[in-house]
Symmetry: C2
Subunit: 461 residues, 2 copies
Amino acid sequence: MSDAETYFRENRDRHLAELAAFLRIPSQSALPEHAPDVRAAAGWVADHLRGLGFPRVEIMPTAGHPVVLAEWRGAPDRPTVVIYGHYDVQPVDPLTLWTSPPFEPAVRDGKLYARGASDDKGNLFIAVKALEALARLDGGPPLNVKFMLEGEEEVGSPSLPGFMAAHKDLLSGDLAVSADGGMFGTDTPSLTVGSRGICALQLDVRGANHDLHSGMYGGAVQNPVHALVALLASMRGPDGRIAVAGFYDRVRPPGPEERAEMARVPFDEAAYKAALGVEELHGEAGYTTLERAWARPTLEVNGIWGGFQGDGLKTVLPAEAHAKLTCRLVPDQEPEAILDAIEAHVERFRPPGVRVSVRRFPGSARPYSLPASHPGQQAAAKVLKAVYGKEPLVIRAGGTLPVAEMFASILGVPLVFFAFGGPDSNVHAPDECLPLDAFDRGVRAYYRYLHELARSHPAAG
Amino acid sequence: MSDAETYFRENRDRHLAELAAFLRIPSQSALPEHAPDVRAAAGWVADHLRGLGFPRVEIMPTAGHPVVLAEWRGAPDRPTVVIYGHYDVQPVDPLTLWTSPPFEPAVRDGKLYARGASDDKGNLFIAVKALEALARLDGGPPLNVKFMLEGEEEVGSPSLPGFMAAHKDLLSGDLAVSADGGMFGTDTPSLTVGSRGICALQLDVRGANHDLHSGMYGGAVQNPVHALVALLASMRGPDGRIAVAGFYDRVRPPGPEERAEMARVPFDEAAYKAALGVEELHGEAGYTTLERAWARPTLEVNGIWGGFQGDGLKTVLPAEAHAKLTCRLVPDQEPEAILDAIEAHVERFRPPGVRVSVRRFPGSARPYSLPASHPGQQAAAKVLKAVYGKEPLVIRAGGTLPVAEMFASILGVPLVFFAFGGPDSNVHAPDECLPLDAFDRGVRAYYRYLHELARSHPAAG
């Protein structure tokens, strides 16, 4: 490692200059007029990987932006690692809130500022530079490495599942590593051991064939808003428990070790409430706030509407009312089974006098879980401890991490999150940045991690 | 009456021609560009009343369109009747659905088609022509008559309460008669003995200071939509009963006679459901549909909204949720007391983790009630029976009749509805019309009604 240490120190300025060149490409996938820039970024990173000595680099078409696929079989008897990242970036509005222009990278106070500096050009470039060091110092990676870099992450990765399903052999591996993500804090390393799944539906309640006069008809016919309200209220108790029969059937409650892991994560409730502007938190009794956000399932209304919403008053008895709902799921809940349970609940509690229909949204995802005891996590923990000088926290994501779910469900490959931005990186916001400390730790950590995986991780053989 | 019969028959063509001239003025109060037409209609009807011999006719300014006030003291020792009507009309969109242009009156199949033919130029002109007959045949009305004709009814009569409060003496009388309204059917006379009052409020539920990610925060903080839904659900039982403490305290349930009156009103439930497109009706148990719509109070959500309403899905935990509510009130409920009860309920059931505020809307109105036994109703019933050849039905309005409420609360004068359009008059819709039968019965009925009131109605003296 002392060679690597020297290498990264001596080449740091060049590395950051290269990253700056990458960051200057405004590859904003959400804006159709920037499609040429997205393709330019794909070309840039493909060229860069070729320049490092990757024997195979392809820009592979999808229904949308291409996937850059690179492969370096460094050691046939060693494991194969698939590193995921994305070369597209978020839009930059509102531009006026940026201290320096988003596509003119600038270093201030030990941070590199630019759109994509962290999410995800910076993080994927960290992995790329680790590969460079492996090539220059060791003659190539000590295991088999694939890069799968997409250009549509910021628009929901619409083409990726199809691409992965169509190229299972090309993408096969023993472990996936996501260079998209971040640490609990810039100076606080962490292992992400789970994220919640998701399923979603819309409830449409219909009464009369047109809005009615609330005076002439009020009391005589069912009001679809009241019907919807009664139905939604029947799904959740005042204590935050979901009252849909079967909802908790397959939930594995967090065990004592998992609860202890979560309890070790620093959490300042007063600061949390102050940041949200709420006087009290609320949720399922018997669990801590982090447990509720990370390890318990939810049923949340994301939107509701019906009748008159303008200023003042319109004395209408609405013809329709609607709500959108999502559930966040934990192991071993199955999205389709949860949607079935909700649909059965709706059927059972359907209020009289209205028609209620349930529409399922596409995009369900199972919960993701890779315990800290998994060899890929153990290797990561060992490396992070060495690089940061402290044990990583074991954390979870309350949201859904689609790429982890895709690797698990499409390829059957477990995924470890290994990325170095922190919560102060202003991801998706003005003044996005990457602390240079994170860059320095990141390249060293990736270099060590691939060595550690080569040494310790089981290979399919 | 045989003189009157002859008079109305011989003058019918002229009367209808005059009405047509009135109807040609496009006095649409909702459209600012038609303000000159609204004023022209006021001038037309004022001139017309002067022409009939009214000793006093004034076009009195208000904050909006003027009130035409006319007075003919026909008999100092007899009662004073204040006849209410309005000379403004609804807009005419969608114009393409009219068979003939809305401001070019046309007679087809025994009906006079034009915007305002029924609501309310036709109905008020019926009363005016009855006064003409009283002037020509009897030398003047057999009692004291005032006309109060406004030009803002179709925009909610914003200036009328202030006008009435400012001119209590001018408007004093023993009985008000509304020439705005209609009969149960063109051939089915009716007495309106009540309408429901109204009060309204908005509930605003606020959680975090911005929309949250439903994955990161779902389960940890209260969702304002769930809080609103729980609060609204707590206000109404599945049986349609309002669960707000005190809501029914002052409700006078309909007595056996009132229930018998309502039961006599023809009601075809199958046709009612078919017209609304619903498979079943729903409401408070123990009451018929008409009783629920006419004689029982309601609490209805007129609109609800919060979070994402677009296509697809946005996994947001909304920062806010809102609902607009109105209650329809029956004797002896007091609007302010009901609003107090709802506010107390909100306070008692306020879900944790959110702030809930209650905003009261202006425009509360008490329920209106004038029993069939009132001398003004008795006189109307006697006349209607004579003119239609059948007993009038005793009906109610589920909605609120603001003018009745204004006369009661501002002037302390009871109001009888005496108007002749029917439910097939297409009021507020394309092809508005007045059946010529209704016109013929109307002028005769008004002529007789004023004689009957002169004879039988008590005067303040």
